[in-house]
């Protein structure tokens, strides 16, 4: 397995960012998946192209797992596409995949399986890009790159998430994912285009005649819209986002409770079995001492292993993922509240009072 330090950062081309945004916005709020192409240069993973996965893979029902990178139909599609793109000089190495999400609710077993699938290959240089469509609508571009940590990969390969194993690998919920620093990159031509797009249209030379001519300018065909700052970031409707975050956290806590109950159930049944076993061993001991007094051969003392079966410890993976998910939400809420309270204070200072 490749060392984690092989990828120090991720560089995303403007084209890739725009493709992902377009794909995710087109079918919002459905989660979308796609493939990333690029290459690794001196520890920087350059992602230079991306394409979406087909909406319904052939020969498969459209369950949620049918669209993920592990699916056979998708694999075939991906290989075909890469083969084609190689012919037009695109960096034809698969370097990971992307997924859209709403408010960061992406940490689940599905995500882990997909990324583990990529990272389990030899000499891999892969990342998962997570694009948050809800947060991007608030202004800015919320794209993050993640990898699974090596210690998690080791534990995942053994596929044993018992408490003992977790302690052995020193694995806590904080060590599942590693965020890779991400930069956006523009080619020279893209920079040139961006500069051109941000030139504001020429103001009309003559003065407007009426108010309506100002609000709906009759200049058809419309000049190109300049890429200027838009004011989505100044939007004051913060309640929906907070509410949604609360809902999501609540959901995760429910899940956490279920997991905790499972664990408690396991604990209880384990304790019960253990008392039974000690009772049996006690009984066997007294029996043996009686038999020894009667000069009879003692009965085997380890027969309890056949008679009693200790309950299996439930996998801790889900509970780890839920914990990580809650952490993700909490950090996100932190970010949102920082900007929201700033906006509130600005508003409070800005509104004239009468």
């Amino acid at each position: 397995m490749a060392d984690i330090s092989t990828i120090k950062s991720v560089r995303v081309d403007a084209l890739v960012a725009l493709r992902i945004v377009k794909h995710a916005t087109g079918v919002y709020p459905t989660t979308v998946y796609g493939s990333l192409l690029g290459m690794e240069v001196d520890g920087v993973l350059q992602i230079t192209n991306a394409f979406p996965f087909p909406t319904s893979a052939e020969g498969d029902d459209s369950s949620s797992s049918a669209l993920t990178p592990k699916n056979k139909g998708v694999m075939w599609y991906q290989n075909e596409m890469i083969k084609c793109l190689r012919e037009v000089n695109v960096d034809a190495n698969n370097v990971g995949w992307y997924q859209s999400t709403t408010l960061g609710n992406f940490i689940n077993s599905n995500f882990i399986e997909n990324q583990a699938h990529y990272q389990s290959q030899m000499n891999e240089r892969t990342v998962a890009l997570i694009y948050d469509s809800t947060r991007s609508a608030q202004g800015g571009l919320a794209i993050k790159a993640y990898r699974l940590t090596p210690q998690f990969m080791v534990a995942y390969k053994e596929n044993k998430f018992s408490s003992e194993n977790l302690i052995k690998h020193n694995l806590t919920y904080k060590d599942i994912l590693q965020e890779v620093p991400l930069t956006l990159y523009n080619s020279h031509l893209a920079i040139s285009l961006l500069h051109q797009l941000s030139i504001p249209p020429q103001p009309p030379s003559n003065l407007p005649v009426s108010v309506s001519s100002l609000t709906n300018p009759p200049t058809y065909p419309q000049p190109n819209f300049p890429v200027s700052t838009n004011f989505n970031a100044l939007d004051l409707t913060i309640d929906p986002i907070l509410e949604k975050s609360c809902d999501l956290i609540l959901e995760s806590i429910e899940a956490h409770n279920t997991e905790a109950n499972n664990a408690a159930y396991y604990q209880r049944s384990l304790a019960r079995e253990q008392t039974k076993i000690t009772a049996w061993q006690q009984k066997r001991k007294t029996e043996n001492s009686v038999r020894a007094a009667q000069k009879l051969p003692p009965l085997a003392e380890d027969e309890w292993q056949k008679l009693f079966k200790l309950p299996q410890e439930p996998s801790r993976l889900d509970s780890l993922l839920i914990s990580r998910q809650v952490e993700q939400y909490a950090r996100q809420v932190d970010g949102v509240t920082a900007t929201s309270s700033a906006k509130l204070f600005a508003l409070n200072g800005g509104i004239p009072r009468f």
Binding site: P223, N232, H256, E327, A330, L344
Partner: protein
Amino acid sequence: MDRESFIHLTKPVAAGSTTASPLQVVIYAQALFAILDHSLRRSPDQERVIGTLLGVRSEDGSEIEIRNCFAVGHNESQEQVEVDMDYHKQMYNLHLKANPKEVLVGWYATSPELNTFSALIQNFYASNGDGTHPYPAVHLTVSSNPGKDITCRTYISSSVGTTADRAADSCLFVPVPYEIKYAETERNALESLSLGKASSDRQVSNIVDIHSLEAGIIELLEMVSRVSNYVSQILAGETLPSVAIGQALLNTLNLAPKVDASELEKLFNTHLQDVLLVSYLANTIRTQIDLSNKLASTVGTIATPPKTDHKRQQKERD
């Protein structure tokens, strides 16, 4: 981008030709970025590269949105041109699988020049069967010469009267107006990307919410100062006043809500408290989850669940 003015007339439809009615073309920024990327990746001996444009056509065919594109390999020499049509078909099918709504609308080339080969390719894309027939095929040229502006031109074709053996490689390119558009979220992305347009390494890092908030506020302040400059210039008699602009400004200023000071204070406080409460609780939960996990690994079991649920109820009061 500069644009030329041209006049567009509806001509009587000649038999066998595609419709040449006025047409509005909308180009989405993403397609332009993809074309530029392809242009960067061409072999050094290639003058231009071409590709297929995908998009959506309005029902009557009068408006075409170019949403996506893919590159198609081709070879051009003095005498002949070779376009990899099998490749085009294969890619087109692959794209249709991922996005069935986006259909073939035309093709692009990365040089502003139109020549016989252009006509040949154009006739293929507009042809019956594999092409866009009965709709016109759009030809988009994007010039990317160093030192000059990136210029786009859009054309549709119309047939010209020539002898039958020359019909395949001749057509008249009719310029059509176009517009560059972004979807709202695409705009956010472009804005983030353009943060790096002035830096020498052409990179943007550390994209945070608070940055876009800051940029928005700065822009807003600039606009306010521009307006107040304008007004003071008029008051000083330096610029010609305009009733319309004055009216518009007054309308805008009237939008400011008239709220009672104490009322506003109250609103502000309740909202702020909500925000802070959610933040506080989220962090409490994080700590509890952390604690729960620590306990779980030390005891070797999962500890009892954190008792957070009753606290959460308060949040829902809004």
